[in-house]
């Protein structure tokens, strides 16, 4: 999670947040997210404000404006606090007390109004009205940032659904709230509920939404392979507006491309990504991702990595990608190294450094880690500076295995025979009868009694036999 932390001006900002990532790339905050609708737009702006040094003031100002245009007081407070830490003199940084008060009053009034209305509908027992009342209340709660209440209101919609469209609405609302709470499991379960609905005309649009939403949720849970498989099946002919609450087509291309690159092998990348007509449409939005994938497929790993490296800063400012980007990148890197090494039986460390090393930094520690994890089957020859492939002598393997099995069988057979004889001779350790040895269960007062009894019974048996 550690990114190059070049300079860290404005350490006061950390009093409010502890950003894991500091990005110093130059980026236009609004451009990549222009097509994103408001709730995630605010989150994205806040993320940039927290993590991106050159853009922080600009992004936070935009966030403040964004918050002020809505009615969520908590968000406004957060944004203002961050902005005042970053740029204390900025006019926007001062909190607008009047606005807060007014919005608060308005919010309360609206809540009461909607709740009263809903009560009225309930008394009238009109299902559709109750459903709509719940929906309105949920939307209101969502807009003022009361996510738990919003979830509750939206879940109540489910009781009164009457058409498939309603079910779909209910699911999307719940998923959208879960997205904001970063509750990926509940996103998946809600999206799962609506993914199989047959609804005629809208089906394609709905499918696109469910694919994108569950793909992003899977990414959030760190399930990279499934996320990639879901995202690359998104229908490109559906208008992006259908899933704009979650991601833009660019995002779909970036997430799908990067995750595929991290989890699929070369043939799969060729057949599932590059030859996949529908996903190609998305990749056209992000040509460098496509380029990176085709470079990987063609075996030009270092160029592929350098392209990815050049865009790392951008991805670090993405709310869904940021927590996972270093894991994804290191997966891709590891794959590159493994792929690079496959055709060779040994490679000099220098050439590996040339291909994968960062300036002044050897890949050796990384290789050591990979060998230890078992992802790279090779040994390092530190003397000749070589990475040597492991090629076990098949004869030795057979011999060792055969002898191992034989010895194990022999030991096992002996042990079984021994145990059989112990039990046959009645020499087990017995829980109650052996208090002098079985200290664990506590002392037993009956030892003498048992011993005597045993002797007596033995004698009796003998007498009988005689």
């Amino acid at each position: 999670m550690a990114e190059s932390t070049t300079s860290q001006p404005g350490s006061e900002a950390q009093a409010y947040t502890t950003p894991d990532v500091i990005v110093t790339g130059n980026d236009d905050p609004s451009a990549p997210h222009a097509s994103i609708t408001s709730r995630t737009r605010f989150e994205r702006l806040m993320l940039i404000g927290k993590c991106c040094v050159p853009l922080r003031v600009e992004a936070l100002k935009a966030a403040v404006a964004e918050a002020k245009s809505g009615s969520d007081i908590v968000r406004y407070n957060d944004a203002c606090a961050l902005l005042s830490a970053a740029a204390p003199d900025d006019p926007d940084a001062r909190m607008d007390g009047a606005w807060i008060e007014n919005t608060d009053i308005a919010n309360r009034a609206e809540t009461t109004r909607l709740e009263t209305e809903l009560k009225g509908y309930r008394n009238n027992l009109i299902k559709e009205s109750i459903r709509m009342g719940n929906e309105d209340l949920g939307k209101h709660f969502e807009s003022i940032g009361k996510l738990a209440e919003a979830t509750e209101a939206y879940s109540k919609m489910r009781h009164d659904v009457s058409t498939t469209k309603h079910i779909f609405d209910c699911g999307t609302h719940l998923a959208s709230v879960a997205f904001q709470r970063h509750d990926w499991a509940s996103v998946l379960s809600n999206v799962g509920k609506i993914s199989n609905i047959q609804s005629g005309d809208d089906e394609q649009e709905q499918q696109a939404y469910t694919k994108v939403a569950s793909g992003v949720a899977l990414l959030g849970m760190g399930n990279f392979h499934d996320a990639a498989m879901t995202l690359i099946h998104t229908n490109p002919n559906v208008s992006p507006a259908e899933y704009s609450t979650v991601a833009s087509p660019n995002d779909v291309a970036i997430y799908g491309g990067l995750l595929s690159l991290a989890t699929m092998d070369r043939t799969a990348l060729q057949s599932r990504i590059l030859d996949n007509q529908s996903f190609r449409t998305f990749l056209e939005h992000e040509p460098h991702i496509r380029k990176a994938i085709s470079l990987f497929v063609n075996g030009r790993y270092s160029t592929c990595l350098s392209i990815l490296e050049s865009t790392r800063a951008d991805y670090l400012l993405d709310i869904y990608l940021q927590p996972h980007i270093s894991a994804i990148y290191s997966l891709i890197r590891e794959k590159c190294i493994v792929q690079y090494f496959i055709p060779f039986s040994c490679v000099t460390l220098d050439s590996l450094d040339a291909a994968f090393g960062k300036p002044g930094q050897s890949v050796e520690p990384e290789l050591i880690r990979m060998i230890r994890d078992g992802s790279l089957r090779a040994r390092i020859d530190a003397r000749n500076k070589l990475l040597v492939a492991v090629s076990p002598d098949p004869r030795l393997v057979v011999q060792t295995n055969a002898l191992h099995v034989a010895r194990k069988y022999e030991l096992e057979a002996k042990e079984r025979l021994r145990r059989m004889n112990i039990i046959g001779a009645g020499l087990e350790v017995i829980g109650v009868k052996k208090p002098q040895t079985g200290g664990v269960g506590g002392a037993e007062p009956e030892e003498a009694w048992f011993e005597e009894n045993r002797v007596a019974s033995l004698l009796a048996e003998q007498a009988q036999d005689a």
Binding site: I371, R383, L403, L427, I430, G441
Partner: protein
């Protein structure tokens, strides 16, 4: 003296035809007459002139008589003119030459002599004699006797394990049964299995489960003192996996479990895994009572040397109480060695300087101070056979390299075939023993009882099945039929 000679010679059973009924009867009478019913006159004669009486019979051909004489002399008071050394020499001679069939008739007397050996001879001689005697009684050494335990304890206490090894190394497979013996076979029968005659002849005291546990425990301790981790682990596994009943776990088993963890770390560099036959109840008891050990073991495989060191210091009292302090020291010293060994999974050749940088000593939780120390450590490991590798010493530590070799050496085809043949024959021998055991167990009272019970159950089941398909019941009368049958 001539009377005595006549007495011992006349009645002595013939040396030949040793499996006949006549021999059996003669030997029995003879044994009784020279031991319990030895005439007082003869006894006085023997005691009056020990040197001559020791020459009366040949220990190899008349072991019964010789043992009786030795026993009389050792227990009685001998004239001061005769040196005790002479008597001891004769005992030694007897123990080296005795006839294993004959002594079966004077088993308890012989056992008593064996048990007294430690007070007669120096421990080294006593252990050697005991080991020899055990193997002469039972050449395979696979039947457990009370003498085993006597020998093991003596060997370990006196720290002369070397002569005891031939007995300790043998696999114990049989235990004398405390039940009476089928009278069909005679004691002198050479075909008789050791586990049968050992108990019948009184060559062993009553065996308890604790004797077995103690024997293997002492055996493990002996191997530990020889740093033979593999064998001591096997011995300890026999203790911790001892069959149990009614959730019983003996203290010896628990002590062994603790040692077993430490020995496992020394042997494999990682915590050992339970043999599959250990029951979950036993495992549970073990785990609950040896937390410091399991904590230590789990840290051993990590790179966190300081935590390991901390844990070792924290548990100081426990180690001392359990008398495992020296073993633990050994474990702590071996931590770095295992780190080095594990480098073979990463490197083919690695410089000494690199080893120094990447491995930590658990004593200090730091790297070793100088490259020379590392070099010494590594060469020590190679010499002891712990590490398969080779050092090429260069002018500096950066240029001195350790080359790792394959873990197993490649065998030639002939060696491999020989090894396979050995395994094959040993498994074949085991199969025979399995069959014998199966037969023996099938004829026990318990098994017969079990079979009878099973049969009864079967009969009952058949009866319980009630109306079978074959039973002819008319449709209309279904209920009445069933009720009637009941």
């Amino acid at each position: 003296m001539d009377d005595a000679k006549l007495f011992f010679d006349d009645l002595a059973p013939p040396v030949t035809s040793s499996s006949s009924k006549a021999y059996d009867a003669a030997a029995k009478t003879y044994a009784a007459s020279v031991t319990t019913r030895l005439p007082a006159a003869i006894r006085t004669t023997i005691l009056r002139d020990p040197i001559q009486s020791l020459q009366l019979v040949d220990p190899a051909t008349n072991s019964i008589g010789y043992l009786a004489i030795i026993d009389t002399l050792l227990r009685g008071s001998i004239p001061p003119s005769v040196s005790r050394q002479h008597l001891l020499d004769s005992t030694l001679l007897f123990l080296l030459k005795f006839d294993p069939i004959q002594i079966r008739y004077v088993g308890s007397l012989f056992r008593a002599l064996l048990e007294d050996l430690s007070s007669l001879f120096s421990p080294t001689v006593a252990v050697e004699l005991l080991a020899n005697a055990i193997l002469r009684i039972d050449p395979s050494g696979s039947t457990f006797t009370s003498t085993h335990l006597v020998m093991a304890k003596l060997a370990y206490d006196a720290n002369c394990i070397e002569p005891a090894l031939k007995v300790l190394d043998a696999d114990i497979l049989f235990y004398p049964r405390n039940t009476r013996f089928e009278d069909t076979k005679r004691l002198c029968d050479t075909e008789l299995e050791p586990y049968a005659y050992v108990s019948l002849a009184g060559l062993t005291d009553t065996i308890k489960s604790t004797s077995i546990l103690e024997y293997h425990f002492v055996q493990a301790l002996a191997y530990i003192s020889r740093r033979d981790w593999r064998k001591s682990q096997t011995a300890l596994e026999k203790v911790i996996g001892h069959p149990t009943k009614d959730k019983g776990v003996s203290k010896i088993m628990l002590e062994s479990y603790k040692k077993w963890i430490l020995v496992g770390l020394l042997k494999d560099g990682r915590p050992p895994s339970f043999p599959h036959y250990v029951t979950s109840v036993t495992k549970f008891t073990f785990n609950g009572l040896s937390e410091p050990y399991s904590n230590l073991a789990s840290l051993f495989t990590t790179e966190n040397a300081s935590a390991l060191k901390e844990e070792a210091v924290k548990g100081q009292v426990t180690w001392e109480e359990d008398k495992n302090l020296t073993l633990l020291e050994e474990v702590i010293s071996s931590y770095q060695k295992w780190q080095i060994i594990n480098l073979r999974r990463i490197y083919r050749q690695v410089s000494i300087a690199q080893i120094r940088q990447t491995t930590l000593s658990a004593h200090t939780a730091e790297t070793l101070k100088s490259d020379d120390e590392v070099l010494a450590l590594v060469s020590d490991m190679i010499e002891s056979g712990m590490l398969k590798g080779q050092i090429q010493v260069g002018p500096t530590a950066e240029e001195s390299y350790l080359t790792f070799h394959e873990e197993h050496d490649l065998m030639t085809e002939a060696e491999f075939a020989a090894e396979v043949a050995r395994s094959h024959s040993s498994i074949e021998a085991l199969t025979k023993q399995y069959r014998a055991t199966n037969e023996r167990l099938s004829s026990t009272k318990e098994y017969a009882r079990h079979v009878v019970r099973e049969q009864k159950r079967m009969e009952k089941d058949m009866a319980d099945a009630g109306v079978g398909f074959d039973a002819n019941i008319e449709d209309e009368d279904l209920m009445t039929g069933v009720l009637g049958a009941m």
